[in-house]
Amino acid sequence: MSTSVAPAAAQEPRRPGKLGKAPATARSVSENRLGLRLVAPAVILMLLVTAWPMIQALYLSMFRYRLTAPDDKEFVGIGNYTTILGDSLFWQDTFNTVLIMVITVAVELVIGFAFAMVMHRIIFARGLMRTSILIPYGIITVVSAFAWQFTFSINNGWVNSWFEWLPWIGPDTNWFGDHWPAMFAIMVSEIWKTTPFMSLLLLAGLSQVSEDMLEAAKVDGATWWQRLFKVILPNMRAAIMVAVLFRALDAFRIFDNIFVMTRGAQDTESSSFLTYRQVIEQLQLGLGSALSVLLFLSVLLLAWLIVKLFRVDLAQARGEG
């Protein structure tokens, strides 16, 4: 299919004038039509599984609807929303989610940047380094959660014996018996699994910082820290922001680690987990749908906040500007 099109398209100017409309020649009309046809299957698929169910959720969220008693379906308006927003569990879970997001992203940014610096400098064993950094990235999150659960396990874990010299850790430290230690274990698993992704994005940004500029700063007598904060970081701004945006929204959806490690015990539940529990375990489709809508809105708000706050220009960062 592409064969018949490619030569025709190649003769076209890539961008027919930044301003003003391109004249509607027969060729540009047919190019337009072909473009729409080629993207149509992907667009329809993406909308089919997101937009449509989301509308469905909006509708269901206005009913009291439990699958165990489908005949009691009853219109309650915004009743489900007021129930949720008046419930302390919802706020506890939202707080947990935001806390996990902020801490993991901050830690990953620091560790990921350190990793990126090492990978940028290293001249030997690059293949080995790439392979090992990609293993946490590729590993199943559930597997990572199990590996860390066993690491922190009271009977079979090595953390208690290796770190016994720390005053607050003993052979009987039960990491999953209390809120904060359990949250800590969950965050460790999350950070371990996703730091490589962060470091690869940062590495790509780092390699775009011009060596000449760094050399010039060095000649002018800038210290290592000055070069880092005045030259390297400002020049990587786009890469850092893209990494933060993606990871923050990803961390906000945290589910797998909590499901495997604590099942929400010790108040470690996240917003995603609460939604899942309402729908799948309690079969509360009405209440669950309202939670879905709220979750969707929080992600939108979060994305908007990050983009506004850090003035991320994604189009520019992606080279589409």
Binding site: S2, T3, A6, A9, A10, R15, P16, E31, N32, L34, G35, L38, V39, P41, A42, V43, L48, V49, P53, M54, Q56, F115, A125, R130, S132, I133, L134, I135, P136, G138, I139, I140, V142, V143, S144, F146, W148, F150, T151, N156, W158, P196, F197, L200, L201, A239, D256, F259, V260, S272, T275, V279, L285, L291, S292, F296, V299, A315, R318, G319
Partner: protein
């Protein structure tokens, strides 16, 4: 200069330990005997390495079913997603058409979509359509959620392809099919392949939909099956078997990473920093 090299070397060792220690840990656990883990065995290496867990897990029909489901669902979703993404990315990289930006924004929005928000409505819809607990019931959402990543990666690759070469080949007497087959396909193949690897990782890893939209081993994938793997005594999970199953499902990932590391890194970063 010398100090710098030392720092880099130390950093190198640190990164290796960070990335590989948990993997080494589950491998070591997988060789501990069930008796050893039941009694509590906090030391890192097994006392008596045994293959008992591997024998048990490869005899476990539930695990084998899950493996089959995971491979089937992930491969089909990857194939279809990459086909659709290739069409879309070609149009985005090569053609001028209205709504191009809207497509890219839609893809971005879906990449950030909270998957769990769909669990309720999809659960309801899939039960109505008879897609609940079937392969297509997972394949369809996996395609939708991997399309954004695949489209970006491919669009970034396709922008870099010198398409003029195709015409040059035609000028030199190649038919348009030959020009496409011999010139464009070899140039585009690495990008398509990279997108396929990233898509496969996603589908192989996915958990939320896998536990919500399945109910039996007929379509439950490995991550979901692992989370249900409790064993006879709920207060004493079968550490060894879980670790062994984890090792078994990590092997394909390690093989893919070993062979294609360069491509994966290129694919992960191509869309994100510059187009």
């Amino acid at each position: 200069m010398k100090k710098n090299n030392l720092g880099t070397g130390a950093g190198f060792v640190l990164i290796l330990v960070w990335c590989l220690l948990p993997v080494a840990w589950i491998i070591s656990l997988s060789f501990k005997s069930p008796e050893e883990t039941a009694a509590g065995s906090p030391q890192f290496l097994p006392k008596d390495a045994t293959l008992q867990n591997y024998r048990d897990i490869l005899d476990n029909p539930d695990f084998l079913d899950a493996l089959r489901n995971s491979f089937g669902i992930a491969l089909i979703a990857t194939f279809l997603s990459v086909v659709f993404a290739t069409l879309a990315a070609y149009a985005i990289a090569r053609l001028e058409f209205r709504g191009k930006r809207a497509v890219l924004s839609l893809a971005l929005a879906i990449a950030m979509f909270p998957v769990v928000a769909l669990v309720g409505p999809l659960f309801d819809m899939w039960r109505t359509f008879g897609l609940f607990n079937t392969w297509p019931g997972l394949i369809i959402p996996y395609m939708s959620f991997t399309l954004p990543l695949a489209i970006w990666t491919l669009a970034a690759f396709f922008r870099e392809i010198p398409w003029e070469l195709e015409q040059a080949a035609q000028v030199d007497g190649a038919t348009s099919w030959q020009a496409f087959r011999k010139v464009i396909v070899p140039l585009a193949a690495p990008g398509v392949f990279t997108a396929a690897i990233l898509t496969f990782f996603f589908a192989w890893n996915e958990f939320v939909l896998a536990i919500s939209l399945t109910s039996t081993t007929g379509s439950r994938t490995v991550p979901a099956q692992l989370s249900y793997f409790v064993g006879p005594d709920p207060f004493n999970p079968p550490y060894g078997q879980l670790a062994t199953a984890s090792v078994v499902v990590t092997v394909p990932i390690i093989i893919i990473v070993l062979i294609f590391q360069r491509k994966i890194v290129a694919g992960l970063t191509s869309g994100a920093v510059k187009g």
